[in-house]
């Protein structure tokens, strides 16, 4: 009973103090907030140790038990300790692991940067393959999504503007005037910096900016407001002790 109630009281009192400190940032609440923030940073630092312990333990057990894929676990443990060792050595020898001639930076430049970059770069291939297979005009919503995606992709690179400029040369004069008039009307209807590309007659960039600024931002706002309300509701549940899943069962 006590084991359960003490953490709930700590959470309630801490939250109350932090809320009061937000509205009254003067002594003693302001100082208390600073102290709590420092404690938070220290606890966050110790979670790394916890993470290293958990990761090393999990993979060492896999190595000792020779479970499937144990070799990868061994590589991970070796990489972990080699990185740690080189970091500590560089810290002692060069006063910082980030000194450009330190062994840690060698490891960083020639191992971590290429490996992470390669991992991220391979995503491009999977995205192209997945987009080609999955992006189909199956219904109205999918068609809208496809058109929006194409407009953003073409408007997001200089090629869009160049292709448009070249294309416009070959259009008959009445069509060209029609597009120009439409673009001007759009810019007048929406007197906003966001429509500057319409005025400049760079239509791919204009459509991209409009899509990002109006429909996309509206959807983003809706999601963020929902997230914020959800966060407030969850925080209140934790502060008031209604939500207790963070406590050990």
């Amino acid at each position: 009973m006590l084991q359960r109630n003490i953490p709930l009281v700590i959470v309630f009192v801490t939250a109350l103090l932090l809320i009061v400190a937000f509205f009254i940032p003067h002594r003693p609440f302001g100082d208390l907030e600073s102290r709590f923030l420092n404690w938070y940073a220290i606890v966050a630092g110790f979670t790394f140790l916890l993470g290293i312990d958990s990761l090393a333990r999990h993979h060492l057990i896999r190595v000792f038990r020779r479970t499937q894929g144990w070799f990868y676990s061994l590589m991970l443990v070796l990489a972990l300790f080699v990185t740690l060792g080189l970091g500590l050595y560089s810290w002692v020898r060069f006063r910082s692991p980030f000194a450009l001639h330190a062994p840690f930076m060698w490891l960083y430049t020639y191992m971590i940067i290429p490996l992470q970059s390669t991992m991220f770069a391979t995503l491009a291939f999977f995205i192209v393959s997945a987009a080609y297979r999955a992006f189909r005009v199956r219904n109205f919503a999918a068609t809208l999504l496809l058109i929006a995606a194409c407009l953003v992709m073409i408007g997001n690179v200089p090629l869009g503007g160049s292709v448009w400029s070249a294309l416009i040369q070959f259009l008959p004069l009445p069509v060209k005037w029609g597009i120009w008039f439409g673009a001007k009307l759009l810019a007048i209807a929406m007197p906003d910096p966001r429509t500057a590309d319409f005025v400049r007659f760079d239509l791919p960039a204009a459509f991209k900016t409009w899509l990002m600024s109006i429909p996309q931002a509206a959807a983003g706002r809706g999601i963020n407001i929902g997230l914020a309300l959800g966060g407030i509701a969850m925080s209140l549940r934790i502060i008031l002790g209604i939500e207790r899943t963070y406590l050990a069962s």
């Binding site: 970059s117 987009a131 200089p158």
Partner: protein, 274 residues
């Protein structure tokens, strides 16, 4: 197999090969690219440009090598801009793996402008618990950063003696690939009214437009295109400008594939329906 079925089912190895060529060839040929500066990037540039000489800019390096091809050129271009304008720079970061990238940029750019560590810029390093750090700087920087990344007290650097809270920082630049941008906007911008510009990966840029239009951030540098635009504004084209033809070709290829795939799909559906 019929033509329309072939169009809808191109082997993925062919897609991979064509994409690789679309990326590699422009990097070799290096065609000229016309960079048109967009409004969010222009605003970010203006935010830096309007600062009086001697103002302090805090740059938070919140990306790691996976996003470096997109975001590192922004860091280099912004550093160039700051040093050209005689601004003082404080570099920090909330990703332990990001700070070496800052160190790489700081080993290259300041020398171009004759800037000296400690006099013109300082790297205060990384502290865990980014939300606490962001809120805490609003009260006193030294609560979290008594020393720089080398362990030297920050008060031993003359310009740092007058930097205590966000009030002493003219502009906050967050170069991010994740949620730290939202956190900076919500905790530093929302609570302490610090002026912020954000540079981020192309994937993250759409999430920031809502903040930009609500004037919660002064500008956005989004993706490689944003970085290339900033480079063109600074007047020193770099790796982002170099990468734009490759990105253009890759985007064009994806669009061509989407069109081909959908033509095949529609033809196949019409045949089946018929």
């Amino acid at each position: 197999m019929k033509l329309w079925e072939r169009l809808a089912t191109i082997d993925r190895r062919i897609l991979y090969l064509l994409l690789a060529l679309a990326v590699v060839l422009p990097l070799i040929i290096r065609p000229r690219t016309r960079i048109q500066v967009s409004e969010p990037v222009q605003d970010a540039f203006t935010a830096v440009d309007q600062l009086p000489p001697g103002s302090v800019v805090m740059i938070s390096v919140d990306f790691d090598p996976s996003s470096a091809p997109e975001v590192q050129p922004m860091l280099i271009a912004i550093l160039r801009h700051c040093f050209k304008k005689d601004l003082k720079v404080i570099v920090t970061g909330h990703l332990a793996l990001g700070l070496p990238l800052a160190e790489i940029a700081l080993s290259q750019v300041p020398a171009e402008y004759g800037k000296v560590y400690g006099r013109d810029f300082v790297n205060i390093g990384y502290r865990p618990g980014y939300v606490a750090v962001m809120v805490g700087i609003g009260r006193e920087l030294r609560d979290f950063f008594k020393t720089d990344y080398k362990g030297v007290p920050i008060d031993s650097y003359p310009f740092m003696r007058s930097v205590h809270t966000y009030r002493d920082i003219g502009l906050l630049v967050d170069l991010a690939h994740g949620a730290t941008a939202d956190a900076w906007i919500q905790y530093a911008g929302g609570r302490y009214n610090v002026k912020i510009i954000v540079g981020c990966t192309g994937v993250n840029a759409p999430n920031l437009f809502q903040y930009y239009h609500a004037h919660q951030i002064a500008g956005i540098i989004g993706g490689l295109q944003g970085a290339a635009e900033y480079e063109s504004l600074v007047g020193k084209p770099g790796s982002a400008t170099l990468g734009m033809p490759a990105q253009s070709a890759a985007h064009a290829l994806v669009i061509v594939f989407l069109i081909i795939g959908n033509i095949g799909f529609l033809l196949a559906r019409r045949r089946k329906g018929g």
